[in-house]
């Protein structure tokens, strides 16, 4: 499986699809929210070939995000503190979403908010949209209200998801934070309140300091760590949630840069995965990884059959 020999532009019939909360994915590999923008990625590959596209978190109104610098490098990873800059849900509904649907993509719309009202407003606006799934981001470490604080407490999270649940029939994925003591109680709260699926993990809080100045590199001081470095940690979270909740669909996220790493998530019990940081330093990585996984599944018919039916290895 040499990357050298991989031509991601060759015509390819997907051999191994999956279903996440009933929604068919062409293959088990999606893009991770915040690392995909149609206007940028469409130049590099046919984005409709992905299992799904999780788009950048959208808020009720445009958000400015954090001051710059917003990123620092870390060993086999990166720290970011974008702070959910986005042009707002209205813009998304006329600009990003219809174009993605026109291209034939399966779209997971990532939802951000500073408050329960914010989330509700966005979900209401998306209820009649062509989005295939919603991914409620209660795990962003880079905004001071909402984000991770919502996703760190089972009660707060239960209240939010219970409020959002009746607003839409769309499958609702809740995206969890790794910055918690007990991921299982949080996952259970989300599921009890009506989540159709879970995605995990968002970034881990971290930072870098510039030894020339002694000061943090990122303006926000701390940010979220992603990339290959977090792979074993993220995999451990998926494993623990799957052990505790055998039935909930799970999207595994964190450090995936190869089909082999994606496969580890499937063996840990994920239904599908999303690729984040790898796309930043290698634009076609998500499609390459999907292709690699498609080939790896050839020799794993039992796993492939389960995925095809929306079931999981564990």
């Amino acid at each position: 499986m040499g990357i050298m020999s991989m031509n991601v532009y060759e015509p390819h019939e997907w051999k191994h699809g999956t279903k996440v909360a009933g929604v068919p994915w062409k293959n088990p590999v999606g893009t991770a929210s915040g690392t995909f923008q149609l206007a940028a990625c469409r130049w590099f590959y046919d984005v409709s070939q992905m299992g799904a596209i999780s788009t950048k978190g959208v808020s009720p109104v445009p958000w400015e995000g954090n001051p710059t610098p917003r990123t620092a490098e870390s060993p086999a990873g990166m720290v970011n503190a974008v702070g959910l800059q986005n042009p707002g849900v209205d813009h998304y509904l006329v600009d990003e979403l219809p174009k993605l649907k026109e291209l034939g993509a399966t779209v997971v719309t990532n939802v951000a908010g500073h408050s329960d009202d914010d989330y509700a407003e966005v979900v209401e606006k998306l209820a009649d949209s062509p989005a295939d799934m919603l991914e409620i981001n209660v795990s962003c470490p880079n905004v001071s209200h909402g984000g991770m604080s919502v996703g760190s407490d089972p009660k707060t999270l239960h209240r939010l998801i219970s409020r959002l649940r009746p607003i839409t029939d769309k499958p609702m994925v809740v995206k969890l934070s790794p910055n918690v003591t007990d991921i299982v109680s949080i996952a259970k709260a989300a599921v009890d309140a009506g989540a159709d699926a879970l995605s995990l993990i968002n970034t881990l809080v971290g930072m870098r300091i510039d030894i020339r100045t002694g000061e943090p590199i990122i303006a926000n001081r701390t940010g979220g760590v992603s990339g290959p470095a977090i792979f074993p940690i993220a995999l451990g979270f998926v494993w623990r949630v799957r052990q505790a909740l055998p039935d909930i669909p799970i999207i595994g996220i964190g450090g995936i840069d190869s089909g082999e790493k994606a496969l580890e998530y499937l063996y840990a019990g994920a239904n599908a995965v999303e690729v984040g940081a790898a796309a930043l330093y290698d634009p076609t990585a998500p499609l390459r990884i999907a292709r690699e996984l498609d080939d790896l599944l050839d020799s794993r018919p039992q796993l492939a059959a389960k995925l095809a039916q929306g079931q999981t290895w564990r």
Partner: protein, 273 residues
Amino acid sequence: MSPSSFIPTARAVEQATAAGYFPGRRSVEITDNQRLDEGVYRLTFRDPYIAAHAKAAQFVNLFSSDPLKLMPRPLGISEVNGEEVSLIFAVVGKGTDEFSHLRAGDTVDVLGPLGKPFRLQDDAHYVLVGGGLGAPPLIFTAQQLAQRPDCKVSAVFGYRSTRFADDLVGKYANRVESITNAEGNVVDLLNQIEDSINVDGLTTVILSCGPTPMMKAVASWAQRRGIGCQLSLEERMGCGYGTCVVCVVDTLEGRKKVCADGPVFTAEELGWA
């Protein structure tokens, strides 16, 4: 993630363009690496695609071969000769240090060309105001402008000490003025040459790249004289191609991406005028 894990440039470019896409990250061959000054290098690699498509102020992402260092190192294109592309960079950290040790025959991973170029017109007098490692993209701008017979080009460069870019830009510019930190700054130099800035009745346009305080000073110098001014910015980047929203700058129309909406902005857009 070592260079060899990526497909070589010819294949990558061929495959992508045949399919109608922009070529992704690929491995290119170094053809030359020269030390221009203390800690300043001019690196040349072969990439027919960038050579054919690059425009003034565009940049490329260069990648470390160390898989611990995954993030892009954006570097402005400083010259194109045939199929060969040159960059000029200062060693500031571990990535640029690694690049300084590359030798002809080695490979490096690259993505590009990236960014929106200077908006150039067919007849104007372009004053290229560069500071330090802001000079490289302006050398390429001069090279591009040399193809427009009705344009005139003056380079106004400020250096820390050695005038490492004068000769390089001199190949393409009609006039080269420069100043070192010990002598003053580029605004001093602009003041000195102000009287001769009108050339052949052409509209004067300033294109600038350098440290932010310098560019702000240049923008206000231009504004006071009613001279149009485009600035090429720098910001820490996550992707360099517009997907991560890491590299923003405040403009009058809100925060824009330096990598994909820029790196070129007008002084007006930035509210620096």
